[in-house]
Structures are given as C-alpha cells and as structure tokens.
C-alpha cells in the first residue's frame, strides 16, 4: 500500500479512536454497575433510544420522498431547495432549538394556533424531543439517500416506465429496492445523530428526567458535578449505539450485500 495514503489514514484512525480509548482507560469500571442500577439512567437511556428511533421513522417517512424530489424531479429551484433543507447540518443546534420555538413554541407562528385551537403545547414534552432530533438528523438521511439515487442507474426506471409502470409503482418496485443500502446507511447515520443530539433538544424540549432528559443531556449535566459519572454514562451510550449499529449491519447491510 502506498505510504502517502497509509500514513495519513493511520493518523486519522488514531485521531478518531484515541479519545475513545481515553474514555475506556479513565473509566471507573467498578462504578458502572451501580450507575446502571440508578433508575434515572435507565430512564434517560430508554428515552434516548425511543426518541431517536421515532425521529428516524419520521425522517424516513418525510426524508426519502424529499430525497427523490431532489434527485429525480424537475422542480424549479431544486438547488435552492437542496441548500435550504440541508441548513440544519450547519446551523448550530441551539439556534435550531430557538428557531423551533419561534414556529412551534406556544408563542410561535404555528404553536400559538395549536395552543388556541386544540390546547396543545409542544415544548417540554417528549414530542418536542422527537421534533428537535428529527430537525437536526433528517438532513443526514436526505443527503445520503439523494446520493444513492443519483448513483443509481435511471435506465431501470425508464425500462419500468416503458413496460407500463406508473411513477409510484416504479418508485416502489424499482427505485426503492435499488437504493435500499443507501436508505439503510442514511437511516443509521440519522439514528446515530439523533441519539447524540444535545443543543436543539435542551433548548426546545428542556431537560426533565423521564420526559425530555436524554442521555446526552444527562451526560452534560453530570459533567458539571461528577465527571466520573459523566464518563460512565457516556460509555453506556457508546455501548448501546455500537451494539445497535453492529446488529443492524448484520441484519440489514449483510442481507443487502448477499
């Protein structure tokens, strides 16, 4: 292997992996058992996994069609649209949280109407957590799926059309199976981003144990007082996300490759 590639690659691995090793080395292993037994940790973990999964489902329902529009349709101003929907990738999540307030908060454009008409207020609920996570994570799915759609050979879709399939049938029976690995990869990325989401969540959803306190919020607050506990919580989050990703990989990516 050529050294100009190998050496920077090795440095890259060291750069990304050494902080994890640091966590493992400094981890107070004996404290992990008691930490896991604390009810609020289990609660935060359950809330994180559930809300990240719901955010991923929501992103799939909205993001895959959006990616298709960006990659396949002839809508005018597509490049502007693409730039707009990927804004959350560069927006500081805390600003995203404030922006969500301005729309969905009880004084917000849509939120005040929801409050008046139905008595529904979104902030400080688990719904708000899912919305904040979806806002931040969905662009990852959209970008990933759009890339897969662009790489896929559009001639298969043309052939399906000549054989009499309408565009919806073509999408379901030809396009979607073709880009399935891209969709799965995008969903995994989206889920991981949602699981680690902090800024938009603490801003828009607040922080309350059991309803809105996800693991990243618990970790950040633990860091204020007890860094050891924060390391333990981080390791738990890390273990759960690694386990989930490996499981998904075997189940989905393995099958797609077979």
């Amino acid at each position: 292997m050529p050294a100009p590639l190998l050496v920077p690659a090795a440095l890259g691995v060291a750069f990304l992996v050494l902080p994890l090793i640091g966590l493992l080395v400094r981890a107070p292993w004996s404290a992990i058992g008691p930490a896991l037994a604390r009810p609020e940790v289990g609660e935060a973990l359950r809330l994180s996994v559930v809300s990240a999964s719901l955010a991923t489902v929501l992103s799939l329902l909205l993001g895959v069609p959006l990616a298709w529009v960006l990659a396949r349709s002839r809508v005018r101003g597509r490049s502007v649209l693409r730039a707009l929907v990927t804004v959350p990738l560069v927006l500081p999540p805390v600003v995203g949280g404030v922006a969500l307030f301005l729309v969905l908060g009880r004084q917000g454009i849509v939120g005040s109407w929801l409050d008046d008409a139905f008595g529904i207020t979104i902030p400080f609920t688990t719904t708000a957590v899912v919305i904040a996570e979806t806002f931040v994570a969905m662009p990852f799915l959209v970008v990933s799926v759009e890339g897969a759609l662009r790489a896929a050979d559009a001639r298969f879709e043309d052939v399906a059309a000549t054989l009499g399939a309408d565009r919806w049938a073509t999408f379901r029976r030809v396009t979607l199976p073709m880009v399935a690995p891209g969709v799965v990869a995008g969903a995994v990325l989206c889920w991981a981003r949602a699981l680690g989401e902090f800024g938009a969540t603490i801003t828009f959803a607040g922080n309350f144990p059991g309803t809105t306190q996800t693991m990243p919020l618990a970790v950040y607050l633990a860091l204020q007082r007890d860094p050891e506990a924060a390391i333990v919580l981080s390791l738990v989050l890390l273990a759960v996300s690694l386990a989930t990703l490996l499981l998904l990989r075997d189940r989905w990516l393995g099958r797609a490759a077979a």
């Binding site: 908060g105 004084q107 400080f124 603490i202 607040g206 922080n207 309350f208 607050l221 204020q224 007082r225």
Partner: protein
C-alpha cells in the same frame, strides 16, 4: 426592567443593598474620588509595568461586569492583554482542575471554589459579591401567575406558583439550580419545575420567549436582561444566598496582573460596578 416590579424586590435583599451602599459612601470614595486616584495604592489598577497576558475564568453571571474590568485594566496598562472566559462555575472549576492555564478564577458559589482550593490550585479566596434568586415572569404574564399586591413583605413562593404553572429552573448540578431546589423545597414546591436548564441564561431565554410561565434566576441576571421582564422577590430567597469568591491561581503565569485584577474586583470602583449590575455587596 420593570420599575413597578422593582418595588417588590423588598425585604432582605433591598436592605442589604442599602446597607452596602451606605457603607460604600461612608468610605468617601464613591463619586468624589477620581478614577485612578492615589487613595488605594496597592489596588490601583494603573500600576505601571503590567504586561503580558492575563487569563480570567469567571462565572457566566459576571459577564457584563468583568468585561468592564477588562477594559478598565487594559486602558490603564496598554501592554496588558486580558482574556476573559465565561462558563458555569462547575465547568470552570473542572477546567482549572484539568490544568487549564489561567491566572484568576471567580465562581458563583463557594463550593466550586473549594474544589480548586482543596486541590491546592488556589489559596485565600475572597468573597466579593452576593446574589439571590428572583421569580421572573414573561411580558404580559401569559401563565396568569398570581402577583401579590405591591408594598407587602415578600410573600412565600407558594403564593405565586402552583403545580399547573410551567416553571423553568437551573439543573441541580449547577449553582443556580442548587439554590432553586433549596427555595422550592422550603416552599413545598419541589414538584413545580417543568424543565431543568443547563444554566441561568437558558432559563432567562425561555422566559423571554414566553415559553414558560415563570423562571427562577439571579437578581443580577434580571438586571442584565434589561427591559420587558417582570420580577418579584419572595421570602424563601434568603435561604439560598450565593456568595461569589475570587482568587488568583497558584499556577498563574502572570501573578502581578492577577493580583491587580483581584484588587480591582475588591476595590471601591469594582464594588460599585458590581452593585450597578445587580449584585449584592459582601466585602464590607
């Protein structure tokens, strides 16, 4: 700031401020001493010869006042570069314990300073200000918080709040949250909070946006937030009075400048600036 509400911040808080003001004017240095007068030789920030960089870590609630001190000290010492870093006190103490290079540390409570002193990284911290909690309500009082009539003694927090109200407080891990927990417990309202924010400014943001009915924040933060918010004193705030200590750090790279900064904070000029910013004086 709402003047109407300011009248309600009565009782012990206002009393302390008044006492402090009297004590200050008793020294005869407020107003009639020219800035840079020679009355307090060692603490005079204009000592010639301060050079290099001075790094000050300070609690987020000190942002406005300490930025003023930075300008004052740099103005008097053109060769000196002051760098300020603001964060939650616990985060600052952790930074110092992790070896962050800094010369001066000012925290919002004595517990966080004690962590640094116990590790031998600072000695002889001096309390330079105090602060207590107020109840802040968004403009227009959207949650219909029961506001007591003016001129009364500050009533219990339980008079204002019930479990229906949407209330934001700081998380118990940070000093303003510990204070909030104390007053809520005393008022029998430990179930009232709907969100535990990561710092006091986050609580204020949610009040300013009108997304909560009320929040508990420091007196000085309400002053810094400016117009538009109504705020009220309450009886339990006495139970959670915060003292702000400052110390130069043992590892200071610029001990002379560190001493000058601490002296400025404790000087009449510094104390007056703190008082204007809504802090309660503690040094004399």
């Amino acid at each position: 700031m709402s003047r109407r509400a300011a009248g309600l911040v009565a009782g012990p808080v206002a009393g302390l401020v008044a006492v402090a003001l009297l004590a200050l004017s008793g020294c005869g240095t407020v107003g009639d001493a020219p800035p840079g007068g020679a009355e307090r030789g060692p603490s005079e920030p204009g000592d010639p010869g301060l050079t290099g960089t001075l790094t000050v870590l300070a609690a987020a609630s000190l942002t406005d006042v300490f930025t003023g001190f930075e300008e004052r000290l740099e103005g008097a010492n053109p060769q000196l570069e002051v760098r300020l870093s603001f964060a939650g006190s616990s985060a600052l103490a952790t930074q110092v314990l992790q070896g962050a290079p800094a010369d001066v540390l000012a925290t919002a409570d004595e517990a966080q300073m004690a962590r640094v002193v116990e590790a031998g990284l600072a000695s002889d911290p001096q309390v330079f200000a105090g602060n207590s909690l107020l109840l802040v309500v968004p403009p227009g009082n959207p949650g219909g918080i029961a506001v007591p009539s003016a001129e009364a003694e500050p009533p219990s927090l339980a008079e204002y709040l019930d479990d229906e109200a949407i209330v934001a407080v700081c998380a118990p891990e940070v000093p303003c949250g510990a204070a909030a927990a104390t007053v809520l417990d005393a008022a029998g309202l430990s179930g009232a909070p709907d969100t535990y924010e990561d710092d006091v400014r986050a609580v204020l943001t949610k009040v300013q946006l009108g997304e909560v009915d009320a929040g508990l924040v420091y007196h000085s933060d309400v002053i810094a937030a400016g117009d538009g918010l109504d705020f009220y004193g309450f009886a339990e705030s006495e139970l959670a009075f915060n003292r702000y200590p400052v110390a130069s750090l043992s590892g200071a790279a610029n001990p002379d400048a560190a001493r000058a900064f601490v002296d400025l904070v404790l000087s009449d000029e510094g104390q007056e600036a703190l008082l204007r910013a809504g802090f309660i004086l503690q040094t004399r």
